[in-house]
């Protein structure tokens, strides 16, 4: 997204768009329907009923447990940049009047990577859904596992998968919403374990990062690692336009309430 004061040029269709028009249109290009990233807060406003959100676990924060070079500086920088201190919004809310548990990722924090805090918050959110027998919605956006937290970050895959398993055993209904981008350990754990998996149009979704794939110099199809390709290959149920997401979630949740 190239900004020139009040307008920008869409990197998908090259149309010059007023930023105001983009914001009004849920950050979807009015010319070509390309879905641009949203912050966790914007997405929350989009999906849940007004004033219904009660945030949980706001006091969790990342620490530099392994003394990884420059990690504390990067944490500080991104806390300042995003205004988020715990990297992900989790809590209870209502969608279409139905009470649910919800977790929403934010790509702005260390590339949206998943470390111990996100692992713990996702896990607690699922546990809360389990205890209160609420449907669960997780909106994923992830740059994979966080390198600076090493093997502990990797373990969050097993931890969140464990929570998903418990939740499923107790009859919980989990809707996974994949947004651009969802990669690495998130895709290979909780994001792929939904009873229903939906994605936004054009969302990049995969296990291997683009750099790793590019290193093999294979010729790649145009929709490679796009939501559209994952639907075609049988790993996603639906591609849903941002403006229709809340209605679809409401419809889905209504089946199990």
């Amino acid at each position: 997204m190239e900004k020139t004061q009040t307008t920008f040029t869409c990197r998908f269709c090259n149309a010059d768009i007023k930023i105001e028009a983009l914001t009004k249109n849920l950050k979807v290009c009015p010319a070509c329907d390309a879905h641009y990233p949203m912050s966790a807060q914007e997405r929350l406003n989009l999906l849940v009923d007004v004033d219904s959100f009660e945030e949980a676990d706001t006091n969790l924060y990342s620490i530099d447990a392994l003394e990884f070079p420059e990690y504390p500086d990067k944490l500080e920088r991104d806390i300042a940049k995003t205004g988020l201190r715990s990297e992900m919004l989790t809590g209870a809310a209502k969608i279409g009047g139905y009470p649910i548990a919800i977790a929403i990722g934010d790509v702005g924090f260390i590339g949206g990577t998943c470390g111990a805090v996100i692992g713990e918050k996702v896990t607690r959110c699922i546990e809360h859904a389990c205890e209160t027998q609420l449907p669960l919605v997780i909106v994923s956006v992830s740059g994979g596992m966080r390198m600076q937290e090493g093997t502990l970050a990797l373990m969050q895959m097993a931890k969140t998968a464990a929570a998903c398993t418990e939740y499923a055993k107790n009859g919980g209904f989990y809707i996974s919403v994949m947004t651009d981008p969802t990669f690495g350990g998130a895709t290979a754990s909780y994001s792929s374990l939904g009873d229903v998996i939906v994605a936004e149009p054009g969302a990049r979704i995969g296990f291997a990062g683009p750099l790793a794939v590019a290193s093999l110099q294979e010729e790649l199809p145009e929709n490679f690692q796009k939501a559209e390709s994952l639907v075609a290959h049988g790993f996603i149920d639906h591609i849903v336009h941002r403006k229709d997401m809340r209605q679809l979630l409401t419809d889905l949740i209504s089946y199990t309430y």
């Binding site: 620490i63 447990a65 201190r85 596992m145 390198m147 090493g150 097993a158 895709t187 290979a188």
Partner: protein, 326 residues
């Protein structure tokens, strides 16, 4: 000089060669008594090895974990398991040679085994995709996990992969989904799961068969969130030049991971690493499997599921504090 030797191994290997020559010389000249000198020299060689290996950096250990002569899963399967019958199908699409498994006996106990392998020569390495596991491999593993569960057999997993494969086909065949499904599958298994990381524990590609009641790790194995070169690329935005710094940073060695509870035991390797004395390595692994399997077999199904759940539930270091929160 053998091109597979690591730089810090060279002086030790040189010294060893001299010793062998000297041994031969004394055999040819029984009239000369060099016993004392030889014994002293041997002791010197051992203490030099010890000194060298005490000072190994974490990056040195990555290189040992990837050593081309390092014993691989087939050696452990052949030496530790009786009458193994390999089961090659994933009942879906194909047979991945990077991840094998089947039925076998360990110490008169019927078990199911899973093992990742990289190959020992070029033909094998190509056949086994250098150890990069495909979705078919993970789905074969899931099928065998279910078999273990059905027949109430402990599952023993030998982990050794640089990572899950990352080509176009693996992505289109659902690599992420295959790994996620295995994590969920292992979490609900009613039987003991014993994991031994014998070489490289590469990221989600390793974890997909490594959710265990016990996770053991060889002294010079590594278990990382991503290969050091990839970590270097992500954090330092380079082509892997900072791999040694990345390794020092994210601390993927056995002593590091033992300290934070990611593994339950470090299995000692023979002096100079498993490849210098594979038989000794096999003996140590056998002893460790025996000990842990004996403990796990006494647990009930509920205890096994609960213990495994809590093991992973509690992993993760973070701050939680209303006042000190940034």
């Amino acid at each position: 000089m053998n091109s597979t030797e690591l730089d810090f191994e060279r002086p030790l290997i040189e010294l060893e060669r001299h010793l062998i020559q000297l041994d031969a010389f004394t055999e040819e000249h029984p009239d000369l008594d060099l016993t004392e000198g030889l014994a002293a020299l041997k002791q010197n060689a051992d203490s030099l090895t010890k000194q060298t290996f005490q000072k190994l950096s974490r990056w040195d250990k990555v290189r040992l974990a990837r050593h081309p002569q390092r014993p691989q899963a087939p050696l452990y399967i052949d030496s530790l398991l009786d009458d193994p019958v390999e089961l090659r199908s994933d009942k879906l699409y194909g047979d991945d040679r990077a991840l094998i498994g089947g039925l076998a006996w360990f110490d008169e106990q019927p078990i199911v085994y899973l093992a990742q392998q990289k190959g020992t020569n070029l033909v094998e390495r190509q056949e086994m995709n250098f150890g990069y596991t495909h979705p078919e491999g993970y789905r074969k593993a899931r099928r065998l996990m279910r078999l273990a569960n059905k027949f109430n057999r402990p599952l023993i997993c030998f982990v050794d992969t640089p990572g899950a494969h990352f080509d176009l086909r693996s992505e289109e065949y659902g690599q992420a989904s295959a790994i996620a499904d295995n994590l969920a599958e292992m979490m609900q298994m009613r039987v003991p799961i014993l994991v031994i990381i014998i070489g490289e524990g590469g990221s989600g590609g390793a974890l997909a068969i490594a959710v265990g009641n016990r996770v053991l790790m060889m002294e010079y194995a590594v278990y990382c969130v991503a290969p050091p070169e990839a970590c270097s690329g992500i954090v330092w935005k380079d082509k892997g030049e900072h791999a040694p710094e990345a390794t020092e940073g994210y601390k993927p060695t056995a002593p590091d991971l033992l300290k934070i509870g990611i593994i339950d035991q470090m299995i000692k390797e023979p002096l100079g690493g498993a490849h210098r004395d594979p038989e000794a390595a096999v003996r140590n692994v056998k002893r460790a499997i025996k000990k842990h399997l004996n403990e796990l077999i006494d647990m009930t199904e509920e205890q096994l599921i609960q213990q495994r759940y809590e093991r992973y539930r509690n992993l993760g270091l973070y701050g939680e504090d209303d006042n000190n929160c940034p």
